[in-house]
């Protein structure tokens, strides 16, 4: 094994979280920083040639190569887990920028009560309302503490939208249920594809409060506080699963990489596959650095004074388990912390809506559209509903491409192939839209991660094993949302509607969202969490873990802005406090 000269900081993973930390520390200090990204180099200018549905959206060219490493899944611990051999319910990215390159750039904040979920539910509905096997927790931080970092994140990304709560003042047309925001969005809402406009008008007519989806694919040209300029979205519709060819979408390669590349104190190494974090235990316990296999196959030790683990939810958890850092979580006893609180997100096609008129669905953007939070979080009374929390009904203005969208027909069409099917599928191709429901997924004791006893990655290391299934709370929540979506679809002038068939077992073959949380959660006590609310490891104070792996449970909202807000807060704490006096920040 070759040992490289020590650096001040090593960052594992070159996605949103890792590159934002590199940019912050590298621009504000003289620290020497190495970022290790196991995927390929990328840059925004690559993407003009990539507007190809087959290679990118169907064969998933920007995603992790599962032949090298995947995860295994079982629904409960009496089963044997099997590998997810192809991509399905989530799509982790690979390469510089990670999943931040192929995301849809949907950019909502979490509701304030998400951060104190256990306390808030207990206060309002009593401890008895909690599912028996829940592991819902407070985060150890409040929305008010995080708000300035949300504002900073939105300026970094140039998020387009309209405030619904400006310093406590409710504003019509925005999301009146959102947490207070200190400033208006940096850019105004995006344009609206027709399907989303139909939803807005219908929801308004029914007395709901629809609003423009917060979008990091921006509505007009914008220069962020780092001096990075981007132009407006052109509604080409090649967003999620693609990189943005005009750079209107915020992605690490257009917002962070140009700054990083100019800094002599930051080195980005691609093709470096980190296998272990080395550490000293005992009274002066600390991380020593990382070992990785470089692009040529050589094993390297990179010593560092600070270690940042920012390799997405699965590998953040797996690297701690492989490295023997912390105590693995045991769902039977509740002991241990690493691997607990695995959550995904409820995502159902609540109402598939068929219209008389054409919708021109090829035009759109992955983050343009209309959302409605009237049934989100706890903004409606759950008194007799028999479930907790809720979610957002959405009419997204995604651009439709034909391989993925051809063949969606009303239930009255029984044929799956042949002339009858073809005629119906052609006829409905541009007359179909989906009102989706995206809901919170509570944390349960039994939904967790550990190392698989059977299946290995390309280097012989165990795969991460997920034990994951839906519970009654998610099923009831989804069943509650479906008739609401159908009601709105009717008001939109639907010719036919296919309601969601509901949630059964967790289905790894159907895309839900790439919002997987937990495994290395934050909290106020080392007994139940891996990191403190500064994302600092409780036992190894020079190890910081960035990303949604630190979220005790998910929200109905997309996690990226919350991930970035926490990175900013941690960077401030490191620059302002830790570097002056290294040690625990909380």
């Amino acid at each position: 094994m070759k040992t490289l000269p020590a650096v001040d900081a090593v960052i594992i993973g070159g996605g949103w979280a890792g590159l934002l930390m590199a940019k912050e520390l590298g621009s504000r200090t003289a620290l020497s920083i190495v970022v290790l990204e196991r995927g390929v180099p990328r840059q925004t200018s690559d993407y003009t040639d990539a507007m190809d549905e087959l290679d990118y959206a169907i064969r998933l060219r920007m995603m992790q190569d599962l032949s090298e490493e995947t995860v295994t899944l079982r629904h409960n611990n009496s089963q044997r887990a099997l590998p997810l051999r192809q991509h399905g319910s989530f799509l982790p990215g690979a390469g510089v920028g990670g999943s931040g390159e192929h995301w849809n750039a949907q950019c909502p904040r979490f509701l304030p009560d998400c951060f104190e979920l256990l306390s808030r539910i207990t206060e309002k509905y009593g401890a008895k309302s909690l599912p028996e096997d829940h592991s819902i927790r407070d985060w150890g931080i409040t929305y008010d503490e995080l708000e300035p970092y949300y504002a900073r994140t939105e300026k970094l990304l140039g998020v387009s939208g309209k405030a619904g709560n400006l310093n406590g003042k409710q504003i019509d047309g925005g999301n009146i249920f959102e947490g207070w925001r200190s400033e208006e969005y940096p850019t105004p809402p995006t344009k609206l594809p027709y399907f989303s406009a139909l939803f807005r008008d219908a929801a308004t007519s029914l007395g709901y409060h629809p609003y423009s989806a917060p979008s990091a694919t921006i509505s007009q040209s914008y220069t962020n506080p780092d001096g990075i300029s981007r132009g407006a979205c052109t509604y080409c519709g090649f967003c999620g699963r693609f990189g943005c060819m005009v750079g209107a979408k915020a992605q690490p390669t257009n917002l962070l990489l140009p700054i990083i590349q100019k800094r002599k104190n930051i080195v980005l190494r691609t093709g470096g596959w980190v296998r272990r974090i080395l550490f000293d235990s005992g009274t002066n316990s600390k991380a020593r650095g990382v070992t990785y296999i470089d692009a040529s196959g050589e094993e390297i030790f990179q010593p560092a004074s600070l270690v940042f683990l920012s390799s997405w939810t699965f590998n953040n958890t797996r690297l701690l388990l492989l490295s023997g850092i912390g105590k693995p979580y045991d769902p039977a006893t509740g002991d241990g912390t690493v691997g607990s609180n695995l959550t995904h997100q409820v995502a159902t096609p609540a109402a598939t809506v068929f219209f008389e008129q054409p919708l021109n669905r090829f035009m759109g953007s992955g983050s343009a559209g209309i959302l409605m939070s009237d049934f989100d979080g706890d903004v409606f009374d759950h008194g007799r509903l028999g479930f907790l929390r809720g979610g957002v009904l959405t009419a997204r203005g995604y651009g439709f491409q034909p391989i993925a969208n051809f063949g969606v027909v009303p239930q009255s069409v029984k044929a799956k192939w042949g002339s009858e099917w073809k005629k119906a599928a052609i006829s409905y191709y541009d007359r179909t839209g989906v009102v989706s429901f995206t809901g919170e997924h509570l944390a349960y004791k039994g939904n967790c991660m550990d190392l698989d006893p059977t299946y290995k990655d390309k280097l012989g290391d165990p795969l991460l094993r997920l034990t994951l299934d839906w519970q009654d709370n998610e099923r009831k929540m989804s069943d509650f949302a479906t008739p609401k979506a159908v009601e709105i679809a009717r008001a939109m002038g639907a010719k036919e509607i296919t309601p969601s068939s509901g949630l059964r077992r967790y289905d790894a073959t159907r895309y839900q969202s790439t919002h997987v949380q937990g495994g290395t959660i934050m909290g106020n006590s080392p007994a139940h969490s891996v990191v403190n609310p500064y994302l600092q490891h409780w036992q190894l104070p020079n190890l910081f873990i960035l990303g949604a792996s630190t979220f005790p449970q998910n929200s109905s909202a997309n996690p990226t802005p919350t991930v970035l807000a926490f990175v900013y807060r941690t960077a401030d704490a490191i620059v302002g406090r830790y570097l002056k006096s290294p040690g625990p920040l909380a």
């Binding site: 003009t48 040639d49 507007m51 190809d52 549905e53 087959l54 290679d55 169907i58 064969r59 998933l60 060219r61 190569d65 599962l66 032949s67 629904h75 099997l82 590998p83 997810l84 051999r85 192809q86 399905g88 344009k191 609206l192 594809p193 027709y194 406009a197 407006a232 979205c233 052109t234 509604y235 080409c236 519709g237 090649f238 060819m245 005009v246 008129q357 054409p358 021109n360 090829f362 035009m363 759109g364 491409q401 034909p402 391989i403 051809f406 063949g407 799956k416 192939w417 042949g418 002339s419 073809k422 005629k423 052609i426 191709y429 541009d430 059977t454 299946y455 077992r505 790894a508 073959t509």
Partner: protein, 219 residues
């Protein structure tokens, strides 16, 4: 080395004047022209004829417009199977292979190439049958892994960018009014509410003015 196989196509067998894609060159095949021979990368000629026949029943050429035959779906599938997709280059293929509930996805060892090569044996002679009997044969295998692949790959071959060998002449895109990778809809996205807006399709090569290399042509 395998013996080189060709798919021989004539305007007569395809029914009149057609646009056909030959190694990414678009050829206009008029009824007066001689048959063209397309080199196959994976299939034998017989296999290609069976796949072409099956795809044509899944997505027929009929009064609602052209189908798999005109789009070149069999050529598309041949190229995909010869490349990374066909050999499962990006799938996790480590053993043990176990039966699983459907929610865990396809778990078997067989690659798309193996599924086609083995599965097509059961469809021997399909291309020689009349359409009604072809439908009966396909209906009998509707629940098989091969049929699911045939159906999915047929849709891909109908609507992919023409650089992949399917959607010849952009016939698939014209069927559904998809314009291809249209770079700028800024002025149009809010302008055509409730009415069909159908810009003329253009392929990725036409839009970029470059010859883009599809993934199946990479080593």
């Amino acid at each position: 080395m395998r013996r080189r196989h060709f798919l021989t196509l004539s305007a007569a067998t395809l029914g009149g004047v057609l646009v056909y894609s030959l190694d990414r060159k678009v050829s206009l095949l008029a009824s007066t022209q001689k048959p063209i021979r397309i080199p196959l990368r994976f299939f034998t000629e017989t296999e290609a004829l069976i796949v072409a026949a099956a795809a044509s029943r899944i997505f027929p050429s009929d009064d609602s417009g052209p189908g798999a035959r005109e789009a070149g779906v069999a050529i598309y599938i041949d190229r995909q199977l010869a490349a990374s997709y066909g050999r499962d280059r990006y799938r996790y293929t480590q053993p043990p292979f176990e039966d699983a509930p459907p929610e865990l996805g396809y778990q078997a060892k067989e690659t798309p190439r193996q599924i086609y090569r083995e599965g097509l044996k059961a469809l021997k002679g399909l291309h020689l049958l009349p359409p009604a009997e072809q439908d009966t044969a396909l209906r009998q295998m509707e629940s098989s892994v091969l049929f699911a692949l045939l159906r999915q790959n047929t849709i891909e071959g109908m609507f992919c960018d023409p650089m992949h060998g399917g959607n010849a002449g952009m016939v698939g895109w014209q069927l559904v009014g998809f314009p291809g990778p249209r770079m700028n809809n800024y002025d149009d996205v809010e302008k055509h509410y409730g009415e069909a807006f159908r810009p003329k399709p253009a392929s990725l090569n036409q839009v970029t003015g470059k010859k883009i290399r599809p993934s199946e042509d990479e080593s």
